[in-house]
Subunit: 154 residues, 6 copies
């Protein structure tokens, strides 16, 4: 894990700061739990016989599971965002670029790619997140936008 | 629920087709399960005392949970996509527009907003998805892109 | 709870023996977990808004969940069956006779209703199981058949 | 999957209509989850060392889990029942005919075997369900009875 | 399993009584579920790549999971404590003495090691619990203290 | 939350350092999940009708669940222990001092109470942990012992 530097306000964020989460192995149980929670029992994810004959030769994790795990791994990195974080603003360009198979281990790699001061009170920090597996393949990527308070002028 | 019309190929998709999933109540248990699965135990979602004093006055569901439920509800709509569906291409412009509280019921409303023939073999269908609650508020929206086979020319 | 008498063989079973399990409250979480495990997200069980307008005025538990809980509560009763129990033979006449709502507490009441010696080695014990709630309503009933060894003739 | 034909009333049901659900792999996690939900921690299902020395040489799934998965797979088949379905009437002759081991994949095969008009308003549709594994063995079977409205005489 | 003798009061407890629970296999799913429930996603337990390079060469279960399973296995032993059991008094000297790996099977072995009459109404029964795996290694041990009523005089 | 100061070795630990975790609401779903995981379905925890007539007038959480949540909340505090942490050494004097009811919110409060240099390489840090609820009652307490490396003498 590479933690962030402590920071208070939008002004303390730095373009190019790069963080890295812990890893997490994706278990068959995780896929079944996510299928259960969302109701998405597509046989691509949960029918081993069907998946055997398909493109990947075995079951793969749901894309939104990997995306959700990416978010979860990110928020566990200390000081990823300033203390005066206001809200998750939205997510752009979610792409599923490679399959995640049962037993793969993934981690999230974050890079601050845009700092956009909206007005005197608020800035938007855009972080590019890559979910990467143990073979260094990017399996999912997205841009996360966070609204952050600007440092008050005294 | 409003199911889709049966369709085989990209050519069978229609701009403006509108579908609607079943509803699903978001339980405290779902929020704890999602926190567990992803490791995102932000007190905004799972600490009732903390949330009481916050912006919403009570705990709210994780954004990515609502997004994932939106996907899950969508894939349970019969014939939402043509039979010759190839792959989920990506998701754009995920926005979290209102909080989901414990006990709220959500459903997914889909509208085909773009049909983009890439070449003779492949088209991309873009669907705008709105996750809507029992008070008719849109709590999350996104654009889902699916690669679909074109009808073979014989 | 009313436990069974210790018994070794088919010959030790008594027509009319009556047992009673502990109680168990059926939580919203149990219904969501069962919906997840089985993929049965019928809105009758998991959409509070839909259920409000339906026959029961609120969500009810899945029938097979109540049946499964009945089996689970039964097997936790000590000495319900003889030590030389061989196998669960089958289940007959499963009937869902009243709804189970969120927060109801159920227990299983068992009565041995038939003892059928098949041959010198094997007998079948038929137990009538009633799943009963805190208002003394029978919500599910069934006949469970168990194959049990006969006492060896020395 | 073989979906049903769209049908409105009891009169639209056909003796011999045969449907087939998607498949679903039974994970160790599913067995532990079901043991947890029901409290049935019989070592036959959840103690690998005990099961190694037993009849099947390894752990097997709980019968009521396979039965519940059979129901869950069935209700996910589009148009298995007419729109004017009233209620699940009951289940008869549940039989556990072969073990399900960790990693087996099962699906439900349905055949309408009896159509019984009760009166001018109501009919009972009896469906024989076989839960079948990837080796084409029937692991569980039962008769599911559904009350369905008759077509109104105008 | 070695069950306890039926006993009513503190006076019926015997120093040296030894009980043994059923076994239970520890699944990867159990470790992920416990990580989820408690928020303890230490990579030692849930990151296969990290664990590969560590002291044990693979992932191991959380200590408190094994402790909790030990308690759970113990309470399932019939007659482990007298009927007039009042309360779990506390736990002393919890020690984690060997790792539990995915797929290991554990059981709880109990021995009454101290009987301490506090006054005319109450006694404390101290039980040494060893959680043992299929290789007969003690993986966790602790002393469980239970308050039990004394037999009324007259 | 009160995080720890960054520290490398045993020598950097300070007697009296006090930390505080985030809070976490204990849901009915958590109690059912823990009952499921451990098999401890004591009606005190999971039978609302039984609990209504008991000492506390309602269901209460399992002691080992609260203990496990205390551990889980503690490990989420950044810098609770030095980087050269070696192993959790054991837990002493676990006491359950007040009930936790459904909907209560708990957090863990840590205080370093003993620093014990064993030899030139190793020290033991003893932390008193109190699990406290929203009414400032201590519901569980214990002493956690951690083995930590001493600063190398160069």
């Amino acid at each position: 894990m590479i933690s962030g530097k402590e920071k208070d306000y939008f002004e303390d964020c730095e373009l190019g700061e790069t963080l890295r989460s812990n890893g997490r192995t994706v278990a068959e149980a995780d896929i079944h739990q996510f299928a259960g929670l969302t109701g998405d029992w597509n046989p691509l994810h949960t029918d081993a016989e069907f998946a055997k004959k398909g493109l990947f030769g075995e079951r793969i994790a749901h894309g939104p599971l990997i995306f959700s795990l990416g978010i979860g791994l990110s928020v566990q990195i200390p000081n990823a965002l300033p203390k005066h974080f206001i809200a998750a603003y939205g997510i752009d360009r979610v792409r599923f670029t490679a399959p995640t198979k049962i037993g793969d281990t993934i981690y999230a790699q974050l890079e601050v790619v845009k700092l956009d001061a909206k007005d005197d009170n608020l800035g938007v920090v855009t972080t590019e997140v890559k979910v990467i597996n143990q073979r260094d393949e990017t399996v999912c990527s997205y841009l996360a936008k966070a609204a952050v308070a600007r440092r008050p002028k005294s």
